[in-house]
Symmetry: C2
Subunit: 384 residues, 2 copies
């Protein structure tokens, strides 16, 4: 049964926002070119750098995560420039579409959805093709529930004179992604995932090497011009080139304080436990994971094949209507074939157990032979 | 004297947000691809069309107003395309910079700041130059306090095969700008001005004629791709191509309901009265307006020359520190030369009288010979 409160959002973003963050957004506007905003902007930027584990520049854009993906591409691209884009889901694919939209020449490496790009494949492409300007990787492909291990890819990219662009929109803050150790030149994230914020802010870090490329590129960027962001941030007080989404900065300030008070490592461990509990439950319910191999399972979203005899919409409809739990279906070619449970942001035992319980009951309602409680039991075991 | 509450924002945006709108933003996240969001998006879009007085398509972008200016240009521009850009302040100038950033050829008509483009000048340029694709006008140049009368310019533009792009970021909802009557092909506005919302949403209307151009243009747009917005809006339920800034939609829904409940014409009359009262006070205080002629005075922002012997920062500093009233200085080449009072959004007698009172006292503190109360008296007279 469900009450009449808002749904529990167990989708891969937006995620539930903490009460104190929701309340922080009730604050009146302030001058966005004044001292106080400069202080908020500085605190948020410095705290984000701690989460990114980077000493690089980092900028907060007033857009969704896609805006920061565009910023990464548009600031380094001239017509005809080649960008290596392994594609293995909706979001890695998006890089290719952006390169194309901005007149670049995407060198696509199509990989089966559910799998991740092999480092060897990337090395082969970099050796084969001349003048590749950058490699794009979606570290957490939330459309397929795949996590891409970055260590080996990083080593290969570094052997070549190319930029390493990584989308961590649905994982930064919930997974271990040390930007500087991994030598990521441009790392992108978004507010509405592990940061437990409303959608509307995006983050991008920029390395020295990326600046060198940006500075010699005739860019097609204005709203997302990174040099404009840098120039404004250097002002006293620091500011943004265009009017920032003030209310979301109040929220970001609060959310980052919560995150760092809990401790980044603890937050990541909490996400890992939530993932393990979810996976344990899925296994106990004898459902099939969508990612090809266990070492590819995402820390923030679990993608599961819809079993024979189960109707996607009915399953999710029951979970929402009768239990107030929202999970996601598949996107694009995975529509009707998988469901996805997001476990990111403000996620603890409570949310996972509720979700698994609702899933069990809803599968049962569709005639699946489910031993009620077995999923929940497995999840509890994983938590303890 | 001032209390310890937030400042009264009398700058040309962001403006003060109504209490009920602030509270609307405390709501938890919902699924941005679900039925309820579709309903919110539809209501907001339809209500915005009422404010724009248009039957054209209209889209809500998750960005500042500048993002919608970029959307207008980037969706119609191919490298080398000519766009006619009269420039007479920071924001009309921005169109030129965007055209330039996207590889177009801005045909600049530089006009003295404080003045507005003469329709004759625009006609001359359109007759002289071949293949102009669009004309850009900032209807309310908030950097100089100038309002551009659109009627005659509209007639001239319509005689030529060019698009009419109008920035009403700081005036729509506070000034009379009937988009369809004025045959505006792309009309742009932003949330944090007359709509009394936090910055973070931008609006753009798109005419049939604009679609024809967009559809045959090889665009450099992805995050701001208007065809992507159209495609998503046509879905059932309607949605946005990239994750929307949900919290601001809650706010927009409330703000538009407030606006339409008051009645658009009443809201505009309220803005006109606030402008008249402010101007009356400025005159009574024997200060000098920055715009060249009275018929150019903006309805939403009054720009005033800083009198001899008055220090810009001290004047505004006193107003903020001692009276809790925030006004703006000049931008770019007008820094230190003018101050600007924004009178838009939730603005009534209370806010205007408070501002004028604080202005009088602060001018007096700088040794100006001010007859205390004369400005307030003139403002009261204008209101009654």
């Amino acid at each position: 049964m469900r009450g009449n409160d808002e749904d529990l959002l167990m989708i891969p973003g937006p995620t539930n926002v903490a009460e104190s963050t929701l309340r922080a957004m009730s604050r009146q506007m302030i001058n966005h070119r004044g001292k106080e905003f400069g202080e908020i902007l500085t605190e948020c930027t410095e705290n984000l750098k701690k989460v990114f584990r980077t000493k690089n520049d980092l900028f907060i854009l007033s857009s969704s995560g896609t805006g920061a993906m565009e910023a990464a591409i548009a600031n380094i691209l001239e017509p005809g420039d080649k960008i290596l884009c392994p594609t293995y889901g909706k979001f890695s694919d998006r890089f290719k579409l952006i390169v194309d939209a901005f007149g670049g020449a995407p060198v696509e490496l199509p990989i089966e959805w559910g799998d991740a790009p092999e480092p060897g494949l990337i090395e082969e492409a970099l050796d084969r093709e001349d003048n590749i300007k950058a490699v794009t990787i979606t570290q957490n492909e939330s459309s397929t529930g795949v996590r891409v291990p970055l260590e080996d890819i990083s080593k290969i990219v570094k052997k070549h004179d190319v930029l390493f662009i990584v989308d961590t929109i649905s994982s930064m803050g919930g997974d271990h992604i040390p930007v500087d150790d991994l030598k990521i030149d441009m790392c992108i994230s978004g507010a509405q995932k592990c940061f437990s914020l409303p959608p509307g802010l995006a983050f991008i870090s920029v390395s020295e090497k990326a600046w060198e490329v940006i500075n010699r590129t005739k860019r097609r960027a204005f709203y997302f011009s990174l040099p404009a962001y840098l120039k404004s941030y250097k002002k006293d007080p620091p500011e943004t080139p265009y009017t920032p989404a003030l209310t979301f900065y109040y929220a970001l300030q609060n959310s980052l304080r919560l995150l760092l008070r809990e401790g980044l490592d603890n937050v990541i461990t909490r996400h890992q436990k939530a993932a393990q509990a979810t996976r344990g439950a899925i296994q106990a319910l004898e459902l099939e994971f969508f990612p090809k191999r266990e070492d590819l399972y995402s820390v923030t979203v679990t993608a599961v094949r819809i079993p024979n005899g189960v109707q996607d919409k009915e399953l999710r409809g029951t979970m929402q209507k009768e239990y107030g739990v929202l999970i996601s279906g598949g996107q694009d070619k995975l529509k009707g074939k998988i469901f996805r449970i997001g476990h990111m942001g403000q996620v603890t035992e409570k949310e996972i157990l509720t979700t698994i319980y609702a899933l069990e009951k809803s599968l049962k309602k569709q005639g699946q032979r489910i031993e009620l409680g077995s999923g929940v039991e497995a999840a509890i075991k994983a938590f303890t």
